[in-house]
């Protein structure tokens, strides 16, 4: 093992745990927004990605994304790290040497691979066969996420050989505005189109059944996001500090931006709006937290929050049932944050690029072009891959539950559970098979 920095290692380990917490956080953020008859399914769609993506990451995901042997190309990693067996005593390499174990880097990036497909689930709430979702997650991360992570996050070996083409080209995406959020948002849009609307949408009210859950989930996301962004520095240093502060600032102002729009447009600043605005800010600052100043982050967040407060309404105009606004928040927020770097990148920031508003001129214009191209490339690729996988699943095993099951409620029909038992005495009785194997409770009551 090469020289390790214990401080850096400790920070990235903690960050990995923080990023893992975002997936259950997302589960509650989404779970509160659906109707009470589908809360468990919504939680489970997120939680399942931890189960599926983790072993895939060990088997080949990390290698395909971050393998740095001479076989690594501009489009995908290699097979040098299959099973993570060669990572055990190495230091992390990603366009340079980091004084942390490669396994820590692998664990940190695993959490990104887990939450990205989980983000997609919000677009297709209440209506998806759980088995089909499992198959989709396994296929989509392999065909879409692992390559895209290589394109954006893969900086190759210590000399930059085998770097992903977007990273090599100089696209700035510090923690995944394109690789995570545009990626998931475009896939969400594709699946919302493949699967079609929920029965009754948009005529029937489908109110969030538990807004406190949404706020709880947003709070967990906000907390975990410090690992996501500041952890992406891969060290406990000034870069991490800048990412940390910008994350806090943009999230705060995005929440304000969303609430201001609501107050003037709808007459009320809502709880759901505060939670949504905060998440929008987190999404928008993800690519840009190394490239803007805290002053820049104030504006970036404020504008992102205000924009997304409007873009969540687009689904009603275009008629696609992106149930929990994965497109309006993640695709739009991720794209905005990525493109905004072309304007707001500050020479005094860690990334050191110069955007148009800082007098970037020709260089700034080039940066804007690269950022926009990255958004379009990743978005288009993800949309096409998700659309094709979605269609194939729909034609073979079927992607949607039956109409009757959807009306009854997906918790009951897919999971054989009910989210809330609020009445004493409505618990039912045990079935004859269960009662036959264990009658001790009944006997003790009778005695």
């Amino acid at each position: 093992m090469p020289h390790l920095d214990t401080g850096d290692t400790a920070w990235v380990l903690c960050s990995s745990a923080l990023v893992l917490l975002m997936t259950p956080g997302l589960a509650f953020f989404y779970g509160g927004m659906v109707r009470s008859k589908s809360v468990l399914n919504m939680l489970m769609m997120s939680i399942l990605t931890i189960g599926i993506v983790t072993p895939l990451w060990v088997l080949y995901g990390f290698s395909l994304s971050f393998g740095t042997s001479s076989h690594a190309s501009w489009i995908i990693g290699d097979f040098s790290q299959l099973g993570l067996s060669n990572t055990l005593n190495l230091g992390a390499i990603n366009g340079g040497d980091y004084p942390i174990p490669l396994l820590v880097f692998a664990a940190f990036q695993l959490m990104f691979a887990v939450i990205t497909p989980a983000l997609i689930s919000g677009a297709i709430a209440d209506r998806v066969k759980f088995s089909a979702w499992a198959v989709f997650v396994a296929l989509w991360v392999a065909i879409c996420y692992f390559p895209v992570a290589h394109w954006v996050f893969g900086f190759g070996d210590a000399n930059g050989n085998g770097a992903g083409f977007l990273a090599h080209w100089g696209v700035i995406d510090f923690a995944g505005g394109t690789a995570v959020h545009v990626d998931a948002g475009a896939a969400g849009l594709a699946l919302a189109i493949v699967l079609g609307k929920r029965i009754g949408w948009p005529r029937d009210p489908m109110r969030p059944h538990n807004v406190p859950f949404v706020m709880l989930g947003a709070a967990l996301l906000w907390f975990g996001w410090f690992g996501f962004n500041a952890g992406s520095a891969l060290g406990a240093n000034g870069l991490a500090a800048m990412a940390f502060m910008n994350t806090q600032v943009a999230t705060a102002t995005a929440m304000l931006g969303w609430l201001i729009v609501e107050k003037f447009r709808d007459g009320h600043a809502t709880t759901l709006g505060a939670a949504s605005g905060a998440v929008t800010g987190l999404v928008a600052i993800t690519p840009s937290c190394s490239a803007v100043t805290p002053m820049g982050a104030i504006f970036l967040g404020l504008i992102a929050g205000a924009i997304c407060a409007y873009t969540v309404g687009l689904k009603y105009k275009f008629g696609f049932d992106d149930s929990l606004d994965v497109v309006g928040v993640h695709l739009v927020g991720g794209a905005f944050g990525s493109v905004a770097i072309g304007f707001l990148a500050a020479p005094s920031s860690a990334a050191g690029a110069t955007g148009l508003l800082y007098g970037g001129g020709q260089v700034g214009l080039q940066l804007l072009g690269k950022q926009t191209t990255a958004v379009l490339v990743v978005g288009t690729f993800s949309f096409v891959v998700a659309f094709i996988i979605g269609k194939l699943i729909d034609m073979t095993m079927g992607f949607r539950i039956s109409e009757e099951d959807e009306l009854t409620g997906i918790d009951q029909t897919e999971h054989a559970e009910t989210g809330y038992e609020l009445h004493q005495g409505f618990g039912g009785t045990r079935t004859s098979t269960a009662a036959a194997t264990d009658t001790s409770d009944m006997e003790s009551v009778d005695a």
């Binding site: 109110r207 609501e262 407060a309 969540v312 009603y316």
Partner: protein, 112 residues
């Protein structure tokens, strides 16, 4: 025997219950109900999408009493549940055929 059913605003429940207790009513089942009358519903906004929520939360009380108490009981409920604003609710009275107390087996007027 009569059954007095009252549907009232939830925040008036404690006033009504206390008034009935003072008058000598010793107990009643209370259920949460949803409904609407002339009050209609209200509007809620989620991410800019407005919903008309037609059903409003109400509380429903059921009191079984002797025939000669009807006018007084209805009066007590009406007075204590009254706010003068739309949505105060309704009280109605219906005849009861028989009543039985499960624990003791008391019947009809003894069971009320």
């Amino acid at each position: 025997m009569k059954l007095v059913t009252a549907v009232i605003k939830p925040h008036k429940l404690e006033d009504v219950r206390a008034a009935l207790e003072t008058f000598g009513v010793t107990g009643m089942p209370v259920t949460e109900a949803s409904g609407y009358g002339r009050q209609k519903g209200h509007t809620e906004v989620y991410r800019g999408a407005e919903y008309d929520i037609s059903l409003i939360p109400k509380v429903r009380l059921e009191i079984v009493i002797q025939d000669d108490e009807v006018a007084d009981i209805v009066g007590v409920i009406t007075k204590s549940a009254h706010t003068g604003r739309i949505g105060d609710g309704k009280v109605w009275v219906s005849p009861i055929e028989s009543v039985l107390r499960i624990r003791t087996g008391d019947k009809d007027t003894d069971a009320v």
